[in-house]
């Protein structure tokens, strides 16, 4: 038998199967772009992963050596492999099934963190191996290893801090935690990391520098995310998602593996796009998100001027009465609706209104919820058809033809101040609910949203405030509506 030929054949077959899995990933993401084909898209992605995994078993497990004319397998530690796969699958499936839809952002964050960790571990172990057998790594490979370690480590701790914030763990405040010299500290840390990277390249046989980079990345990840407020979480989650992809791609460069590069850069690109969409939806730059300290509590001085004597309070009976005369009702939900567990009540109200031939639509702001598209998932869980969920550009021109807008648990995204200059949210795209004939705002109090500013919408003539718990308020409206 010609072992050289056999070795080449194995390499070609392995490469072809990696290509198949890369194509499956691309098709998967393509199919994810339409609600109808999205489940298939997810399946294609999973199939791609299975192909990649099986190919990796052959790639690394079967060694054809033309020099000694032998074929050896390297499955001696198969039980460790199996144990890791079974345990990992169990943990993955268990947490994926257990998680509530409101908790989706922190779930994605934590999975993301694991992905980042896997990347810096793989790159680090590979690097140690190469040094152990006396191979010297070239500068490009060392740079890739450095990036994999740094980005993977930042993703790991950053994701866990994001998880803690989203989960509301007491150890980490939801409010941005900014201390004196915070910026200088992050800057210094970055310089230290770059120096370590330089040392790593100069002393290419000392893996200790790599692990110091990882350690520095851990610290950087913590401080990058800890200073960010709850309202900016959609941006952070998107960005961390992108990082985990970039870390995987960097690991691909370290190993010289194409499927890692392709899958990693697809995810990296996807995360960056979502990050930019989120930034645009808040009219803020990425730099501003990381260094701006948005969501701090200042500028509440003229609150009284805005609200004094102008806020009209209402009750469920009155809301039910005006709903009865309506032909078109728009509901604008914010994350507050999810917090109040009011989604089911909102769906019941929708059903009631639709029974009376009243058109009901939903206006979803891009940053409603805690991750991109989060509100859509929460409403989909209540069987509200996605055709009724309109995005900002679609619903805004229709508000002047809308009789009643019900705003529930949203604040900053309907604040008309955004259309004026000199406010923290100036220029942020908002839902123009004030153009509707009347607006009902369901809210606990007049307290400000994440931006920490008063909302003149609440004081407008055509705005009625229904104070109370979101779920209770909607249930009261349904009850009053049925009794009419």
């Amino acid at each position: 038998m010609d072992y050289t030929l056999l070795a080449n054949a194995k390499d070609v077959i392995v490469a072809l199967f990696y290509l198949v899995s890369a194509i499956l990933f691309v098709l998967g993401i393509k199919n994810l772009s339409k609600p109808k084909t999205a489940p298939r898209g997810n399946m294609l992605g999973a199939a791609g992963m299975l192909v990649a995994f099986l190919t990796a078993l052959v790639d690394f497990g079967v060694v054809v050596d033309p020099a000694s004319e032998t074929i050896t397998t390297q499955f001696q530690y198969w039980y460790i492999l199996l144990a890791a796969i079974i345990l990992g699958s169990f943990i993955g499936v268990y947490s994926a099934i257990k998680v509530k839809m409101t908790g989706m952002p922190q779930m994605v964050a934590i999975f993301n963190g694991f992905g980042g960790a896997a990347s810096f571990l793989v790159a680090g172990v590979f690097y140690s191996f190469e040094i152990a057998v006396g191979n010297t790594l070239g500068v490009p490979l060392l740079i890739a290893t450095f990036l994999s370690g740094l980005i993977g480590a930042v993703t790991f701790t950053g994701s866990f801090i994001a998880y803690a914030k989203l989960q509301g763990l007491k150890i980490i405040p939801d409010k941005p935690l900014v201390f004196k010299g915070d910026l200088a500290f992050k800057g210094l840390l970055l310089v230290v990391l770059l120096v370590l990277g330089g040392l790593m390249i100069v002393n290419s046989t000392m893996p200790i520098y790599y692990w110091l980079v990882v350690l520095g990345g851990f610290i950087l990840g913590v401080f990058l995310v800890i200073g960010i407020g709850g309202a900016d979480m959609p941006v952070v989650i998107s960005l961390l998602n992108s990082y985990s992809g970039i870390a995987a791609a960097a690991t691909g460069f370290v190993l010289g593996n194409t499927v890692l590069i392709i899958a990693g850069s697809l995810v990296g690109a996807s995360g960056i796009i979502l990050t930019l969409i989120m930034c645009k939806a808040m009219n803020r730059s990425l730099l501003n998100v990381f260094f701006g300290g948005f969501g701090g509590s200042k500028s509440t001085e003229q609150t009284d001027d805005i609200y004094e004597g102008k806020v009209t309070s209402t009750n469920a009976d009155e809301v039910a009465m005006i709903l009865e005369t309506a032909q078109r009702v728009a509901i604008v939900p914010g994350y507050g609706m999810a917090v109040a567990r009011a989604a089911t009540a909102v769906r019941q109200l929708t059903d009631q209104l639709e029974k009376a031939n009243i058109e009901v639509i939903f206006g979803i702001h891009p940053v409603a919820g805690r991750m991109p598209g989060h509100m859509n998932v929460l409403l989909a869980e209540e069987n509200i058809a996605y055709e009724k969920l309109l995005d900002l550009e679609t619903i805004n021109p229709t508000f002047d033809k809308t009789d009643i807008v019900i705003v529930i648990g949203a604040n900053d995204v309907v604040n008309p101040v955004a259309r004026e200059a000199n406010s923290p949210i100036s220029g942020m795209p908002i839902l123009d609910v004030d153009k509707a004939r009347s607006v009902v705002v369901i809210k606990r109090s007049l307290s400000p949203g994440f931006a920490g500013i008063p909302n003149p919408l609440f004081a407008k003539d055509n705005t009625l405030m229904l104070f109370g718990d979101g779920k209770q308020a909607v249930e009261d409206i349904i009850k009053a509506y049925k009794e009419l």
């Binding site: 078993l57 172990v125 191996f129």
Partner: protein, 97 residues
């Protein structure tokens, strides 16, 4: 030579990624994100690699071996959890009519 070939793949894929993702509507951003998150667990291939090639490198000690096993565990959680959670979400989108 190999490096430039890998960089070419990287650059082309980034462009392809931008093209694909900009077409995804806001409604599907969350499942897209958890699905792509699962795909970023592709490091599972690398984890399998470093775990299986232990012997090629001879005695490298127990420490890298444990790290490789942990990498595989983490990557598996990322992959399996990510796809299952996306599936659950997409089921809810499909559920009505």
């Amino acid at each position: 030579m190999t490096l430039i070939y890998l960089i070419t793949i990287f650059a082309m894929t980034v462009f392809l990624g931008f093209e694909l993702i900009t077409k995804v509507p806001a409604t599907l951003h969350t499942p897209l994100m958890s699905g792509s998150n699962a795909i970023s667990g592709i490091t599972i291939v690398g984890a399998v690699g470093v775990l299986l090639t232990q012997l090629t490198y001879g005695e490298v000690g127990i420490f890298p071996f444990i790290l490789a096993a942990i990498a595989l565990l983490f990557a598996t959680i990322n992959v399996v959890g990510g796809f299952v959670v996306s599936h659950r979400m997409l089921d809810k989108f499909r559920g009505k009519k």
